[in-house]
């Protein structure tokens, strides 16, 4: 019974806060007579979302495609790089600093270069999003691969396990929660990377993503549409996070503390 109530509040409380804030926003906008090109009310934004929805959705798909492909590439290449790092200490020591450099250099600063160098617009945006997204996966997975229980490692040695078997039955399972935590962070970062790259690329592409639509709406003072696009972008980020969180729980449900429901405690 208590569990049920907790569950109820977990969804009801944030929703109530959101509803109150939206109502306040609408009231202030109407009472003060703030023009829509400065701050549109939630009702107007909702209407714009309805009327401009189809065309915005097309742009969303463009951005989403870049995000998801970049995330997949980050997961595969990031995992592979971490694996190489765990197998060769020299490789890890010599290359890890460069991964850090790539991470700490603001993507906005290098995006113009990438867009100049990579002619294909889709690929250029992909590279930008990938650079932002791959580091958390590399860093986390590397830690995970090196976190295997010392006694289990000794046991594997005692039973004459090969490097391959130690990797498969011990190091990879140990690293899985770390990898998934990295993936969840990277999901949001890939979206940010895609948006930043689109901002920099401007109209360079043949297809226009959601970020460019925001920029365009800003120039035209179509502020309600800007808000509508922003709303879609935030929703996309939330959905990506929820999906990755769900996948993570599904994979770890039997054994990892992070995936075990509170009710069991």
């Amino acid at each position: 019974m208590r569990q049920l109530r907790l569950h109820f509040w977990r969804t009801a409380a944030p929703l109530a806060v959101g509803a109150v804030l939206l109502a306040l926003w609408e009231i202030v906008v109407r009472a003060e007579g703030i023009p829509p090109y400065i701050l549109p009310g939630p009702v107007l934004i909702g209407e714009t979302l309805w009327t401009d929805g189809p065309s915005l959705m097309g742009s969303l798909l463009v951005t989403l495609r870049i995000t998801l492909v970049a995330l997949a590439a980050a997961a595969i290449l990031g995992g592979a790089i971490a694996l190489l790092f765990s197998l060769s200490r020299i490789l890890a020591l010599s290359l890890f600093p460069y991964a850090v450099i790539l991470q700490v250099t603001p993507i906005v600063a290098i995006a113009p270069l990438i867009i100049i160098w990579v002619r294909e617009p889709f690929l250029a945006l992909l590279v930008c999003a990938w650079i932002v997204a791959f580091f958390p996966i590399v860093a986390n997975t590397t830690v995970g691969l090196n976190s295997a229980d010392r006694n289990l490692l000794a046991l594997f040695r005692l039973y004459g396990a090969s490097t391959g078997k130690t990797l498969r039955y011990l190091k990879l399972p140990t690293a899985l929660p770390y990898f998934l935590a990295g993936l969840r962070i990277s999901g949001g970062l890939a979206l940010i990377g895609a948006v930043v790259a689109e901002f920099v690329a401007g109209t360079g592409g043949t297809e226009t993503g959601l970020a460019f639509r925001i920029l365009e709406a800003g120039y035209r003072l179509a502020i309600p549409r800007l808000f509508a696009a922003l709303f879609l972008l935030s929703m996309t980020g939330i959905v990506i996070y929820l999906v990755l969180d769900f996948v993570s729980r599904l994979l770890l449900r039997h054994w990892h503390e992070s995936a075990i429901a509170e009710e069991e405690e």
Binding site: N151, A154, L158, W255
Partner: protein, 255 residues
């Protein structure tokens, strides 16, 4: 094992000139205070650690390359050291999996071993669903599943409560009596070592040396009733005195 010493890179001498014979089929306990190098000694016996000097030879059957085949030695750590992502049966199957042979025969062995440690019905459970004592039973089943000639146990019951510990003592006793592998059991409990062993080696700490070797000639099979018998009590008193004597130079030196 002759004149085995172990010095760590930090300069600490963990073991100093250990001479020890381990006889086939005996239950030998290494008894000593924490930090006396018992675990280090056990790791050297298992081949997980190399002695800095001296030799440790195991007279087990070797393969053509002169190596002891995997699975002839079982090892139980102080922690259950299970893979949390695997079920009980998969944990017990690990030695076979690493050797690259898993068939119905091996699966039957694993299930039989889980039964032998009293965990029938828990084959599909995950370690986190089990209590500390049950996890340790899984760990013992894994060590026994290859029917090793030599079983090494490193303070396996130190983290368990007294009641669970006694129950596991009895189970270990029963398993040993029915199969008679050679056992080297590391502990810091006088009562446990006297109850279980056929022979006892008392160790001193810093540096680790063997202070005394004592045969424990209590009748077998040993059961709960033994714990209150006068002979058991007398032996415990004697072993405790040995242990105090073994530690005396250290406490004198630290003044």
């Amino acid at each position: 094992m002759r004149a085995v010493s172990k010095r760590f890179a930090s300069g600490v001498t963990a073991l100093d000139g250990i001479d020890l014979d381990i006889h086939r089929g005996e239950f030998l306990s290494l008894l000593g205070p924490s930090g006396c190098g018992k675990s280090t000694l056990l790791r050297i016996i298992a081949g997980l650690s190399e002695p800095s000097s001296g030799v440790c030879r195991l007279l087990l059957e070797t393969d053509r390359a002169g190596k002891i085949p995997a699975g002839r030695i079982g090892f139980v750590f102080q922690d259950p050291t299970l893979m949390p992502w695997s079920t009980v049966v998969d944990n017990v199957l690990l030695p076979f999996r690493l050797a690259g042979l898993i068939g119905s025969g091996e699966r039957k062995r694993a299930v039989a071993e889980i039964q032998a440690v009293g965990l029938a019905g828990f084959e599909r459970a995950y370690p986190r669903q089990l209590s500390g004592g049950m996890r340790m039973r899984v760990s013992i089943a894994r060590a026994l599943v290859t029917e090793p000639d030599l079983l090494l146990l490193d303070e396996p019951f130190a983290a368990l409560d007294e009641i669970t510990r006694m129950a596991l003592n009895d189970d270990l006793m029963r398993l040993w009596e029915s199969r008679r592998p050679t056992v080297v059991f590391v502990t810091h409990s006088v009562f446990e070592s006297v109850y279980l062993s056929t022979r006892l080696a008392v160790m001193t700490s810093r540096p680790g040396r063997i202070a005394a070797e004592l045969p424990i000639d209590l009748p077998r099979p040993r059961q709960q009733a033994l714990r209150t018998s006068p002979r058991y009590t007398a032996l415990c008193v004697m072993v405790s005195e040995q242990l105090v004597r073994a530690m005396a130079p250290e406490s004198a030196g630290s003044k």
